[in-house]
């Protein structure tokens, strides 16, 4: 039973991170029907920025949680700037082009950003400081769920609630939903659609950076390639839940996290990724629109 709980919480932690990154994919897809393949790279850049900030903070003698918060904030700001620029440079000029063009542009940006970090930083794995301390009150349950997991769960949970409130309640959220449902009509009721698209990229990038910082400090290392696998997994989660759907991304992330965790725990951890992508193939065969996705008829 304890083993089961350990796997359960392990899967929940993983899943919530996947969900956080998947939200970025799904929000962008929902608005401009583009798979932003460079999203994983934003995650990786977030982790790198946090590493640099953490290094500086350590020199100045700050410690633990305060570094994590500071590094997280800087990483988010940085990632937002990257996300905004990415959209402006690589996707906006292709608005109205056939759907394949921005997709290829996205793959190009992904490769470009990876190589840019490779050259500007290093091809090696860099150690990332453990910024989340072991809380004393977690001692009795530490063999089931550790302090880092708890911090990750709380952070992702709070972030998702804030995002939901933003989309459901605020004026900007309303404009985002309107743009998603009918972009031309949104323009006609006076919504500045270009600004809403920029904002979507900024929000998605912020979520990815939060995920990047949390995972890096949990696993303890980063390199220029970490964004790729994280990106592909989160993309899988988004498709699993039904791409374009925000609750879908969360559910898809959690399902994927649990599937990986239980498969690794009960069967073999060597086949972890096999289960991930096996699940993706299965879902695509049985329910192509994803768990919460709506089957849309192509308008003629």
């Amino acid at each position: 039973m304890e083993y089961f709980l350990e796997l359960f919480f392990g899967g929940l932690t993983r899943g919530s991170i996947y969900a956080l990154i998947a939200l970025g994919y799904t929000m962008v897809y929902g608005i401009i029907q583009l798979i932003n393949f460079a999203h994983g790279e934003i995650y990786m850049i977030g982790a790198f920025v946090a590493l640099i900030v953490a290094g500086i903070c350590t020199i100045y003698g700050l410690s633990g949680v305060s570094i994590l918060i500071l590094a997280g904030i800087v990483a988010v700001i940085y990632a937002c700037a990257y996300g905004y620029t990415l959209e402006k440079v690589a996707y906006r000029p292709l608005r109205g082009a056939p759907r394949l063009s921005p997709l290829i542009s996205a793959i190009g940006m992904s490769i470009f950003l990876q190589n840019y970090v490779l050259l500007a930083q290093t091809p090696d794995f860099l150690p990332f400081p453990r910024l989340i301390p072991d809380f004393a009150f977690m001692e009795p349950v530490a063999h089931i769920i550790g302090s880092p997991e708890l911090v990750i769960l709380i952070t992702t949970f709070v972030t998702m609630i804030l995002l939901t409130l933003l989309i459901k309640k605020s004026r900007v959220g309303k404009a985002m939903r309107a743009t998603q449902q009918d972009m031309d009509m949104a323009r006609l009721v006076g919504v500045n659609v270009d600004r809403i698209i920029s904002l979507t990229f900024i929000i998605g990038s912020a979520l990815a950076a939060i995920g990047g910082v949390l995972v890096a400090s949990y696993i303890g290392q980063v390199n220029f390639y970490v964004g790729f696998l994280a990106g592909v997994k989160a993309f899988t989660a988004a498709v699993l839940g039904g791409i374009g759907s925000i609750p879908g991304a969360v559910i898809g992330g959690l399902v994927l996290g649990w599937a990986e965790s239980f498969a690794a725990g009960y069967i073999s951890s060597d086949y972890e990724d096999v289960f991930t992508f096996g699940l993706l193939i299965l879902i695509l065969i049985l329910r192509p629109a994803g768990i919460l996705g709506k089957v849309t008829k192509q308008k003629v």
Binding site: L166, R171, V172, R177, G190
Partner: protein
């Protein structure tokens, strides 16, 4: 008499080509304050394309679209994005209903108000006091508009669940939320039953008289057109073939020919 009234919209020689097809061919018209004008013509005459050129969905090949807001300087609308055109004070509805289906009736109207608010994205996330106050006013105005079109009881329904006629009225309310002085309605009565059409006529009159909004509508329901609009413009094959009062249009042989085809016996 029309000369004394303030001219709101002036379209001069508007032409729109799609490749080799001339969908609209140097059409000119003027809308004055207080008018309910109609644009009629057989299917495929270019009426909707004309609307799309005026509202910034298409950038016209040739010609000028000039807006003369009262007390403000003239603006040329060619090439402006639709959201800018809306900010200038020109709103429209569509032939096929295009509501935000997954949003409530109230939200649909509120979103139209947003282009009239001052606080930007950042402040709307922080939600300070003035933003909340602004939001309260938006809700209030939106409710007033819903009352006007008779939908206040459905404010929290999803718009896709409304009956057909109500969806059309909601589209009008949403367009009015952007505070236009000129409203373009593309076949507002399409698919309506006679009772719904009567309610619509009443609503259009009310908008014209109470809100002082000039209206230009495309419509196939001739009874409705002859009943409420003056002047009437007639288009066929992209060209304007006639304009005038309902009586003049009824008696115009060109119009009769356009609608009934060539009369071989004549």
């Amino acid at each position: 008499m029309a000369d004394k009234k303030h001219k709101l919209l002036e379209v001069k020689g508007l032409t729109m080509d799609f490749g080799g097809l001339r969908a609209v061919d140097s059409v000119s018209l003027e809308i004055h304050e207080g008018e309910i004008a109609a644009l009629i013509g057989p299917n495929g005459a270019g009426k909707t394309t004309f609307f799309n050129c005026v509202t910034g969905i298409y950038n016209p090949t040739k010609g000028d679209v000039l807006l003369h807001p009262k007390g403000l300087k003239t603006r040329r609308l060619n090439g402006l994005k639709p959201n800018k055109v809306t900010e200038m004070g020109l709103a429209r509805t569509f032939q096929n209903i295009r509501l935000f289906q997954e949003m409530t009736v109230l939200e649909n109207v509120m979103i139209g108000r947003h282009c009239r608010t001052k606080s930007g994205i950042f402040r709307s996330i922080i939600r300070d006091k003035s933003v909340r106050e602004e939001e309260r006013q938006i809700v209030e105005t939106s409710y007033r508009l819903l009352e006007k079109v008779g939908l206040e009881d459905f404010a929290n329904e999803f718009s896709k669940n409304l009956p057909y006629g109500a969806q059309r009225r909601l589209e009008i309310a949403r367009a009015m939320a952007t505070d236009p002085f000129l409203l373009l309605l593309d076949e507002p009565a399409a698919g309506m039953n006679p009772q719904e059409t009567d309610e619509l006529v009443h609503l259009i009159r009310k908008i014209s008289s109470e809100d002082k909004i000039a209206i230009l509508l495309i419509e196939h329901d001739m009874k409705l057109v002859m009943n409420i609009s003056d002047p009437i413009y007639v288009m066929e094959y992209g060209k304007k073939i006639a304009e005038g009062t309902p009586q003049q249009i009824k008696d115009n042989p060109k119009v009769i020919e356009a609608y009934l085809g060539d009369d071989d016996d004549a």
